[in-house]
Symmetry: C2
């Protein structure tokens, strides 16, 4: 029997992910609050639902790629939500980045309805989503995970099972901590060099050729050198994730001294109007603080 897959949330990441599911040959039903987002999937043969409830009625597995836990809870638990349309045994996979605590709360509520939840946030950007080469970080019941490996293979290349509910989100937060820290440290290093009169293009070249150059850093250096912040990952999303990181660390009893300062800088950068720019525009705030114009 062909597995019926539902997909809710067809944004910058969800759109290409749903496209890969359709192309792999699954029977797909999609929903997005912006109905025009569904058209390209319909062209690929997907059924377009008028609510998350209808998605659940037509699906054995529902994948969600949503911006935060508030939206996810609405999609799950409102009167026309997934729970209202789900049969017992449905698998719900949340692939957006939300708090591990919120994940476990949702999983517990769904469990009462006979719905099994996995958290499976992704590492990678829009390009990886299109190519189906995302990293996927899975938390939840291991048997349920094993049953969905084939579906995950349509979306990602490196698929990791981390442990019980919330573990995938927890790993994602550790990775995003590293993203924010690398971008901020690169910015501090380049602001210091710039104020000292060094040529930023040469500074970027030297860092890019050094053993300090992660792929992430190599991609961000040209943004700073050219002062051009077209978003690959928007600053407001980075700020949101840092809020999740600091809250999660607090609930674990973990102090994150440098990350807490990074969080403050991103909050200020968002306030100063960089929310829609790439996260590397944190450089602009540090440059202003250093009197560079």
């Amino acid at each position: 029997m062909k597995i019926r897959v539902g997909f809710v949330g067809l944004g910058l990441m969800g759109g290409p992910m749903a496209t890969n599911i359709a192309r792999t040959g699954y029977a797909l039903t999609v929903y997005d609050v912006l109905s025009e987002k569904c058209a390209p999937l319909q062209d690929l043969g997907a059924r377009v639902a008028s609510s998350p409830k209808e998605v659940a009625e037509c699906s054995d597995v529902v994948v969600a790629m949503l911006s935060d836990s508030g939206v996810m809870e609405k999609v799950l638990f409102s009167p026309d939500g997934i729970v209202a349309g789900a049969k017992a045994g449905l698998v719900f996979i949340n692939m957006g980045t939300i708090a591990p605590d919120a994940t476990r709360r949702a999983a517990a509520r769904l469990s009462e309805k006979g719905i099994k939840m996995l958290d499976a946030p992704v590492a990678g950007s829009t390009g990886h989503a299109k190519e189906g080469t995302l990293g996927i970080l899975v938390g939840g019941d291991q048997e349920v995970y094993l049953g969905q490996k084939e579906l995950f293979s349509a979306l990602g290349k490196d698929i990791y099972y981390l442990g019980p509910s919330g573990s995938g989100e927890q790993m994602k937060l550790s990775m995003n901590l590293l993203v924010a820290a690398q971008v901020t440290a690169l910015s501090e290093a380049m602001v210091m060099a710039s104020k000292a009169g060094l040529d930023l293009e040469l500074v970027g070249k030297i860092i890019g050729e050094s053993n300090l150059a992660s792929n992430l850093i190599s991609r961000k250096i040209p943004n700073i050198v050219n002062q051009s912040y077209k978003p690959a990952f928007s600053l407001k999303l980075m700020q949101k994730d840092l809020t999740l990181i600091i809250q999660s660390a607090e609930s674990l009893g973990v102090a994150l001294p440098t990350t807490s300062v990074t969080h403050q800088l991103y909050t200020s950068a968002k306030t100063r109007g960089h929310g829609e720019d790439d996260s590397s525009s944190i450089y602009c705030v540090l440059a202003e603080m250093a009197g560079l114009d």
Copy 2:
């Protein structure tokens, strides 16, 4: 005429660097306060001097690889120092990491004696020093730099000219800022994951396979996973470099919010007895702060 090279400071980095100069065929004179460090170079045909003054008397170029600016000033300006033995036109190349300000002060004093100074700190570890594949970051007069390119080629692979006196040190500080930040962020990310109950070996594998893995991060992950901190770069040297970074930033009027916190953590780690461990032992301090044992 064969160029006569002097080398002062035959420690973990200086020893293999002087060895490469000897092997390239330069007429080499060496000095170290620990005279036993000179024996391996003597075996390669180097002359062993009894003072920096004697090194200068026998050399057209003198390279120094010393631990800080205090030692460098002593080697230069004390009665049996380099200046006492130098003829006008001598080139002095400092390859240790010291403050850009101290570099410019020393260069100005040497200039009065007709001695030309380059700052040329290195990027890389003992392994790179042995292989002659260091990165070399040069500041000082460009003509003087061009005259020494062949000598630098005996020591390093990627050789960059940054600008006037102090520019090489300034670039080195920006790179070491990134080193300290990456190691600290990796530690914060892994402490959070560990406290949340994730398997640190798996966490390390996922980060190591991600787009966040610089060569530096890939080398530090096993230290944290195995709680084994054999020094590739000792924590006390990292702490010293962070002090130079913060002082240099202050004199430039640059605020470094996250680096200042990193500096505080390294100061505490040194106080708590990790000075001789690898810089990645900063993890231990963060783990203790999180109640992990």
